[in-house]
């Protein structure tokens, strides 16, 4: 398949693996964080970890939007879904994520009208087809998905669709990376930068990482060869004692980002003063809320959102796992109380969560 098979070519992959082995100095350890959940998933799905030298450790970062969403926001969404007049729409990623009283799928089983959509535009279409009902789109994601929510709101306003609202839980990647870098128990040697997010924001926003922390970064695609080539790039930088932002995924990621997408986001969203991240606590200026101009389509302004706060189960160590301080299997609950079938932390729910990927794919 075009754009897939060539990035899974055994010969090229072997060449990249050989180069990683040659670059990795056996006298030192390398801790490389892949920020994006898609990378975590691919690393496990293709068994890449087993191809690397033992002193190259991959740390799974906070880039799965489902994993960093606090339970209270899910409860808020499901409160809205509980209204019989509401059609609650969300991506498939959200469906099994537990709030304190169950997941969207469980809400659906109890009778709520919960529907999976693949795009917020589909949610808008449902609103147009059901003018007597209120359709809520539970928006999650980093800059990868925020532009499509923005475009949907622009279209909703353009078409004057009155029964459509977005409950925005969009977050932004840079403050999360900054929080990780400033965490006192953190020691990282390099980053594999998020590919999808970077198609929107470009590479320039990562420059502070190399400038302030002297930490190499390679923005990476999601196929096995992409990830291995990105590792080659950061290991070369570490060997040469340099730190720069490199763009491995330049077939998709423009250095300056997608200006049209950024414009749409800027028109519709503004930065929240602070937002709670699961496992990372409150991070200032790390999430997006809907601007006043779009208030009629903002669930937080037009509907009664209770603003529920839920403390995570004490024994769950999602925060430490998110920051790479603990490996998933080192969490007290991993594989015991917390499994993909009965998840306690969100990292075990999303197929891109570090714990679920570890549980499902790791060969021990």
């Amino acid at each position: 398949m075009l754009f897939v098979d060539e990035f899974r070519n055994p010969e090229l992959i072997q060449r990249a693996v050989d180069e990683i082995h040659a670059l990795a100095d056996p006298k030192r350890e390398y801790r490389v964080m892949e920020v994006c959940g898609g990378h975590t998933h691919a690393i496990f799905r293709f068994g890449l970890k087993g191809l690397l030298p033992p002193n190259v450790e991959l740390i799974h970062g906070p880039g799965c939007p489902v994993c960093v969403l606090p339970m209270g926001r899910i409860d808020d969404g499901l409160e809205l879904a509980g209204d019989p007049n509401v059609i609650f729409t969300a991506f498939g990623d959200m469906m099994r994520v537990p709030g304190s009283k169950g997941s969207p799928l469980e809400s659906k089983a109890r009778g709520a009208d919960v529907r999976i959509v693949y795009s917020p535009l589909d949610a808008l279409k449902i609103a147009q087809q059901n003018p007597d009902r209120q359709v809520v789109f539970f928006a999650i994601g980093f800059e990868t998905t925020a532009p499509s929510t923005a475009l949907t709101l622009l279209r909703a306003r353009g078409l004057s669709v009155k029964n459509f609202a977005v409950f925005s839980n969009h977050v932004t990647i840079i403050p999360a990376i900054r929080a990780i870098l400033e965490s006192p128990d953190m020691r990282l040697d390099a980053f594999i930068g998020p590919g999808h997010v970077s198609t929107v924001i470009g590479c320039r926003p990562y420059e502070f990482i190399v400038r302030n922390y002297r930490c190499p970064i390679a923005v990476s695609g999601f196929e096995p060869l992409d990830i291995l080539q990105s590792l080659v790039m950061v290991l070369r930088q570490l060997r040469d004692g340099v730190a720069k932002v490199e763009n491995q995924y330049n077939r998709v990621v423009p250095w300056e980002g997608n200006l049209a997408a950024l414009r749409a986001m800027a028109e519709v969203f503004e930065v929240r003063p602070y937002f709670e991240w699961r496992g990372l606590g409150f991070i200032t200026q790390s999430a997006l809320r809907i601007r006043e101009a779009f208030a009629p389509w903002d669930a937080e302004q037009t509907m009664s959102v209770p603003g529920i706060c839920v403390t995570d189960p004490k024994a769950a160590q999602c925060g430490e796992v998110l920051k790479g301080v603990l490996k998933p299997h080192e969490c007290k609950l991993f594989g015991k109380e917390c499994t993909p079938e009965h998840p306690i932390g969100a990292l075990m729910v999303s197929s891109e969560g570090a714990c679920a990927a570890h549980f499902k794919y790791a060969v021990t």
């Binding site: 087993g50 999303s350 790791a362």
Partner: protein
């Protein structure tokens, strides 16, 4: 008698005149055979010499018609296939319908004809059944439950106890078509792809295998809900052995693979309706593959992997470049992911 009604009503399940019109005007003419035509309370079947296999299944697919098939065809083939992978040829089948009041008679007629055609193709008479009608809104149009009775092939001796280290894993053909066809037909995802369900009877493929190499076939199962991954995990659990598959050996149509990549689904977890996994003794694996490939519909059968002993019984997939991963059972339904 003619079934002239336009829509199903509660009266069609009440046992009176409307029920009689439905049974004698629609079901009986479509399925007609001596046992059914007597319209007695039970079909009488002369037991043949040998071992009997019996299986039941319920079909609740939505939408009821999808590219490549429909609920009626599925209801016959699903049960026929459960018999086939148990080493049996079907002798007779019953069919129970749960209909939602308001269902169009045309939709029902379409499914009844699809069932009759599938039953003829499999050579199995539908000898009895039942009809219930539930209120509008209480069911997704129609549900069908079928029970099949079959005669086990004299060469067939299947079970997890017969699976041994060294045995080979065979797959009858490309995977994922049914699950993806249904997912796209639900129209919740605005994705267009020319994917047809693989619903079909497996009698011929399985039968030829038992005819030629019966005793060497140790275990067999059709990879329906949960897909190949779930079937293999069940086998690993039941045998306490390890199964290693070669990821590049798995035949997947390009459009299915593309749709799975796009939606973030593992094709090994996606449902099939016309594929089976067979575990065959190592020395007969090539011969078995040859039999399958020479049988119509088995052209893309493949050697998927092998079985060995390990400290932990699990299913492992090995990539073409040497990476390995655990293939787990499906948890819940496969859900498309986006971010």
């Amino acid at each position: 008698m003619e079934f002239y009604d336009k829509r199903i009503a509660m009266a069609h399940g009440a046992g009176g005149e409307a029920t009689r019109r439905l049974v004698e005007g629609l079901f009986q003419p479509a399925f007609s055979n001596p046992q059914l035509d007597s319209l007695s309370d039970a079909a009488i079947i002369e037991p043949p010499a040998g071992r009997l296999a019996m299986t039941s299944d319920s079909f609740v697919v939505q939408p009821i018609r999808f590219p490549g098939g429909s609920i009626g065809e599925l209801a016959v083939n699903g049960t026929v296939n459960d018999l086939a992978v148990s080493g049996a040829r079907p002798l007779a089948m019953t069919a129970t319908f749960v209909l939602e009041a308001g269902l169009s008679a045309e939709a029902l007629r379409w499914e009844v004809e699809a069932m009759a055609k599938a039953a003829r193709q499999a050579g199995v008479p539908i000898v009895g059944g039942d009809t219930k009608v539930v209120e509008h809104g209480k069911a997704d149009g129609m549900y069908i439950c079928t029970t099949g009775l079959g005669l086990v092939h004299r060469n067939a001796d299947l079970g997890p106890k017969r699976v041994e280290p060294g045995d080979r894993v065979l797959l009858s053909g490309p995977i994922g078509n049914h699950g993806m066809a249904i997912m796209l037909a639900r129209a919740e995802l605005d994705i267009e792809a020319d994917i047809q369900s693989d619903t079909r009877p497996l009698l011929e493929l399985a039968g030829r295998l038992f005819d030629a190499l019966g005793p060497s076939v140790h275990w067999m199962r059709d990879a329906t809900r949960g897909g190949v991954a779930t079937v293999l995990n069940e086998l690993a659990r039941d045998t306490e052995l390890r199964i290693t598959i070669a990821e590049e050996a798995v035949p997947i149509d390009d459009c299915v693979r593309g749709a799975c990549e796009l939606l973030g689904l593992d094709p090994l977890h996606v449902a099939n309706e016309g594929q089976f996994i067979a575990i065959v003794a190592a020395e007969q694996a090539e011969a078995a593959l040859d039999v399958l490939r020479r049988t119509a519909g088995g052209e893309r059968a493949c050697l998927l992997g092998e079985i060995d002993r390990a400290t932990i019984s699990r299913v492992i997939a090995r990539s073409s470049f040497g990476g390995t991963r655990v293939v787990d059972m499906l948890i819940g339904d496969p859900l498309p992911r986006i971010c």
